[in-house]
Each structure stands twice: as structure tokens, then as C-alpha cells.
């Protein structure tokens, strides 16, 4: 009896020690991942204090002098504030109005196609611009929209006049949005096609028996079927209303069209790496942007949660 208890005990301790060892190997495996996040994500977060400091390279981040909210008041009262804010919003709103429905419409049109081979071909071809690197894509945009470029050739062919599109700021937003649709419409349709393929075929059959036409079926079956996907994608868009990647802007803009093309992120970039670098100011503008982005994303998610019980988290 006593013996048995002792055996039980040793077995138990054996298990516990292997469990610990097992856990230790898990920790060991996670260590490099933890280090990456700690070093490359959390240490830079501490660097955000730069937004409240006058950065001096000699003194470093922690030695530099505190100046409170001066960078922020300077930014909010400066001439650039409304300019970059409005540019960011305008480009995003245009992207939402035209860029958001485009892949949905493409998916619906592809869904109505009878020939599967042709459908596959069109899908493959429309994905193509997604695989052209951004630098090359912008290179194409700049070349096609120049005075002697192909877009102008087509305009002249149709009886219009030549314009140097990238020298006139009014054309920047349309070019940005249209080229964005060209790059991503095919790729963006994949997710909706996936949602479409998940719709129960019986519904269509039942509707046909009830005498519903194609249009009626699209309104009553197809659109409700992809609604959850649409809502999620819309929330994602709304949450990014104030964030606009700087990469495409930096590649596209030039001095002539800066008044309509400069957005918050490209401004942050120029403040840091332009002719007169100001690290503190750049960090402050970026922090302002981050705070707004988080608020937008959280509230967009909250709204959708209330409305349709679809949410990101």
C-alpha cells in the first residue's frame, strides 16, 4: 500500500518535471519571436516620446530636451495641417467611393459568366497588375500619363487635347484612384468570389421555381449572401480612412502637384528624411495619425458590431 503510493508519487513528479521541461522548450522556441517583437516593435514604441522632445542627435532620444506639446501645437496651427489632412481624407474618400465597389462588381459579373474557361482566363489576367511591383507600376503610370504618353495618344485619337497629367494637381487624385483600381480590382475580387461560391445553390433553384429572374435572384440571394464579407471589408476600409501608405505617394508626386498629393504619411517621411530633418516633429505628426487610426478602427468595429453582429474581433 505504502509502496504503491510512493510509486504514484514518483510517477507524478516525473510527469511534472517533463511537463516543465516541455514548457521550457516552448519558452525557448518562443524566445526569438519574443525578442523580435520586443526589439523591433516595442522599443520603437518607447521612441514615441520623441514627439514631446526637441531631438538633438548629440544627446540622443533620452537625453534630448522635453518640450511638451509644442510639436503638436506647431503642427495644428501650421500651414500644412489642413492641407495634408484634407488630401489624406479626399484620396481615401475617393478610394472608398470608387475603389470599394469595383471588386464587388467584378465578382458579380464574373459570377454571371457561363463559360468557365473564359472566366478563369479573365481572372488570371485581372490578377496580373497585382504582381507588378509598386515601383514598376508607378513607372508605368508616369510614362503613360506624360504628354507624349499612351493615354494622351488615345485622347487625341478621340479628338481631345494633350495634357501633362502629372504636372497638374487636379489630376492627381483621379490618377491615384484609377491606377489603384487597375492594380487591385482583380485581386480584390477573390474574396468576394469565395463568398459567392459559398452560397447555397438550392436557394437559386427554389427562386427559379418561384419564377424569379436573374436580376431578382441577384438582389434577393447573391447580394445578401456576400453581405457579411462586404461589411467586414467596409469596416477595414473605414478603419483606414486616415491612414494612407506613403510608398505610392512618394513614388508618384512631384513639386508641381504637391498641394494635392502630399498626405500625412508622406509628410512624416519628408519631415524625417527631407532637406531639413526634424525627427521630433515627424514623430509627433505620426503619433497624431496613429491615434486617429486606432480610434477609427475601434469605432468602425463597434458600429458594425451593433448593426450586424459582424466584427473583426
Amino acid at each position: 500500500m505504502k509502496n504503491q503510493a510512493a510509486i504514484k508519487k514518483t510517477i507524478k513528479s516525473l510527469f511534472v518535471s517533463t511537463a516543465l521541461k516541455q514548457d521550457r522548450s516552448l519558452y525557448l522556441m518562443f524566445l526569438p519571436v519574443f525578442l523580435y517583437y520586443f526589439v523591433f516593435c516595442y522599443i520603437p514604441m518607447a521612441g514615441i516620446i520623441l514627439a514631446f522632445k526637441e531631438f538633438s542627435p548629440r544627446l540622443g532620444i533620452f537625453g534630448s530636451e522635453w518640450i511638451g506639446f509644442r510639436h503638436f501645437t506647431e503642427f495644428f496651427t501650421g500651414p500644412k495641417f489642413f492641407n495634408v489632412l484634407w488630401n489624406t481624407l479626399r484620396i481615401n474618400i475617393m478610394n472608398l467611393i470608387f475603389g470599394f465597389p469595383a471588386p464587388i462588381i467584378l465578382a458579380l459579373m464574373l459570377n454571371e459568366m457561363k463559360s468557365r474557361t473564359l472566366k478563369r482566363c479573365i481572372q488570371t489576367v485581372t490578377y496580373m497588375p497585382h504582381f507588378i511591383s509598386l515601383v514598376v507600376a508607378v513607372g508605368l503610370i508616369l510614362d503613360f500619363t506624360k504628354r507624349t504618353g499612351i493615354v494622351n495618344n488615345i485622347i487625341v485619337m478621340l479628338g481631345g487635347e494633350r495634357t501633362a497629367f502629372m504636372s497638374e494637381s487636379d489630376f492627381f487624385t483621379p490618377i491615384y484612384v484609377i491606377s489603384g483600381i487597375w492594380q487591385e480590382v482583380g485581386w480584390g475580387s477573390i474574396i468576394y468570389l469565395a463568398a459567392l461560391s459559398g452560397i447555397n445553390m438550392d436557394l437559386y433553384e427554389a427562386a427559379s421555381i418561384d419564377g424569379a429572374g436573374r436580376w431578382r435572384k441577384m438582389i434577393s440571394i447573391t447580394l445578401p449572401g456576400i453581405m457579411p464579407t462586404m461589411v467586414i471589408m467596409l469596416i477595414l476600409r473605414m478603419g483606414q480612412m486616415m491612414s494612407l501608405g506613403s510608398e505610392k505617394i512618394i513614388l508618384m508626386y512631384n513639386d508641381l502637384i504637391m498641394d494635392k498629393a502630399d498626405v500625412i504619411s508622406s509628410y512624416v517621411y519628408r519631415l524625417a528624411f527631407g532637406t531639413a530633418p526634424d525627427y521630433g516633429f515627424s514623430t509627433a505628426v505620426n503619433l497624431f495619425n496613429t491615434v486617429i487610426n486606432v480610434i477609427l478602427l475601434v469605432s468602425a468595429n463597434h458600429i458594425s458590431n451593433k448593426m450586424s453582429e459582424v466584427s473583426l474581433w
Binding site: S25, F30, V33, M128, L134, G139, F144, G186, I191, T283
Partner: protein, 293 residues
């Protein structure tokens, strides 16, 4: 299913097909234009009107200039290095992280998940990250390209979600045999996860292939530049002057425009030839990513 073919329905089919075919032509034509223009006579191209449908004059001097240019070749080799080394690092870290975070027995997994997800919303931003890279002493080294992008949080979470769906019963026998976590990961989890591994490896490689911004701010040394940064110089900053020195043609100025087109072809065709065959992995990735946490 018997469907009545009405006139309206047939008309719709025709219009639908026509619009979609036109859309594909719009997607296809830019690359076709570049291909045609790259072998055409640059002066004729600049004076041409209307759509370009066939080469105007035929010359391949631009390709000669591109292929004999050392910047392009070095850029290509650098990019291959960044893609291969970077993706290997990405995969190692992502798989290890995803494995640990998918262990139900791991007590801290909730906390670590939050630790990771938080970084998707808040980050230090441009300057603090730059100062960190500088502070680590890796500025102007290849590590500055590889380390800051060593993990993509989205890919990590996607992989973890996939690992979560693997039934526990698969691991049971290995556990009874006393296999450690590394053995379970390599012998049991990875072999049944090839779909997700293919998807994220592709995502990581494409990201490395396309990346130029980090190289622009972290690398001064041209010999370490990836191809995309060289392309930016030629295509965006309009600086094909540097390429001219090696150019073999007499009419150097006129060939400058052609070099642009030839460079685009040389830099893009490899990917465009490969992606149709990998398409199913990419589309699978979009769907895996769409699965809610």
C-alpha cells in the same frame, strides 16, 4: 435546372462578356505596350499617335544596355539574396511562433497573443524605427533589410489559426513516445501544413521582391541595393544617365527611353511568368486570411 432563355438574359450575357473582355485587355495592354515599345525605335515611339500595336522599327539595343549594366545585375543578385535569406528567416520565426501560440497547454498564450496583436494597431513609426536600426549598428548593412521585417504579424496569426485546426489526436502517439516539441513540430505539424506554408512563403517572397522603401532609408551603399531601388532611380527619378556609360549604341539619348521599357520587362517578366502557376496558392491565402480568428 431548366432556365428560360429570354432575350434580355441573352443580351445581358453578351454585354457582360464584352465588358469583362475589355477589362482584361485594359489589364493586359500596359505590359504589352511596354514589351512592344522596348524593341521599337524610341524616336518613332515619341512621335507615334494612337494605340501602339506592333513595333515601330526594330532594335534591341536597349536590352543590350540593360544586360551589360552592372547595377541591374547586382540589384538582381541582391534581391535574390534578400528574397531567399529573408524568406527563410521569416518562415523559421513564423512557424516557431505560430506553433507555440497554438499549444493549448501553453499558459501564457493569451498574453503573448495580445502582445503580438497589439503591434498591428500601434507602432513606433518611421523615425523611432530608423533610430533603432541605427542604434543597433546595422544601418547600411544587409541585416537592416532582413531584421526589421523578420515577422509579419498577419502571416503569423494566419499560420497559428491553421495550426489550431490540426486535430490533437495526430500528436497523441508522438507524445506517448516522449517526443519533444521540436520533434512534434517538424514530424507531425509541418507535414500536414504544406498549404499554409506555401501560402505564407509566397507572401513573404513577394513582399521581399517588391520592397524598396526600407532599402532607400537604411542603405546608402549602392552595391547592396535591391533591384527595386535601382528601378526607382531609372523609372521614377528619370536617371538613366548612369546606365548610359555602359551603353553600346551611338544614339545614346534616344535609347534612354527604351532602356526604361527594357528594364521593366527584365524586372517583371520572371514574376509574370510564374504567378499563373502559383495562383491557386495565392487565392487560397486570401481565403485563409479571411477566416475569422
Amino acid at each position: 435546372m431548366v432556365e428560360q432563355k429570354t432575350f434580355g438574359s441573352a443580351l445581358f450575357d453578351i454585354i457582360n462578356n464584352v465588358i469583362l473582355i475589355m477589362l482584361s485587355l485594359i489589364c493586359l495592354y500596359p505590359m504589352l505596350y511596354v514589351l512592344i515599345a522596348s524593341v521599337s525605335n524610341p524616336i518613332e515611339i515619341s512621335m507615334s499617335e494612337g494605340l501602339l500595336l506592333h513595333p515601330l522599327g526594330f532594335q534591341i539595343s536597349a536590352y543590350e544596355a540593360v544586360f551589360t549594366n552592372s547595377d541591374i545585375w547586382r540589384g538582381y543578385l541582391n534581391t535574390v539574396f534578400y528574397v531567399v535569406a529573408g524568406t527563410m528567416l521569416n518562415m523559421m520565426l513564423t512557424v516557431m511562433g505560430a506553433y507555440v501560440l497554438s499549444r493549448k497547454s501553453f499558459k501564457l498564450r493569451g498574453i503573448f497573443m495580445m502582445f503580438i496583436t497589439f503591434t498591428m494597431f500601434v507602432n513606433g513609426g518611421l523615425v523611432p524605427t530608423y533610430l533603432l536600426v541605427k542604434g543597433l549598428g546595422v544601418l547600411n548593412t544587409r541585416l537592416a533589410i532582413l531584421l526589421p521585417t523578420a515577422i509579419n504579424t498577419f502571416n503569423l496569426i494566419m499560420t497559428r489559426t491553421y495550426f489550431n485546426t490540426i486535430p490533437d489526436s495526430l500528436e497523441e502517439s508522438a507524445k506517448i513516445d516522449g517526443a519533444g516539441h521540436l520533434r512534434i513540430l517538424c514530424n507531425i505539424i509541418l507535414p500536414v501544413s504544406t498549404p499554409i506554408l506555401a501560402v505564407i512563403a509566397l507572401y513573404y517572397s513577394v513582399a521581399h521582391w517588391n520592397s524598396w522603401f526600407n532599402a532607400m532609408i537604411y542603405l546608402d551603399d549602392r552595391t547592396k541595393w535591391p533591384l527595386q531601388l535601382i528601378l526607382r532611380e531609372i523609372l521614377i527619378l528619370n536617371d538613366s544617365g548612369k546606365m548610359m556609360q555602359d551603353s553600346v549604341t551611338i544614339d545614346k539619348l534616344s535609347v534612354a527611353e527604351n532602356i526604361k521599357y527594357a528594364v521593366i520587362i527584365v524586372a517583371t517578366v520572371p514574376i509574370l511568368c510564374v504567378y499563373p502557376f502559383l495562383q491557386k496558392y495565392f487565392t487560397k491565402g486570401v481565403m485563409l486570411g479571411a477566416v475569422k480568428e
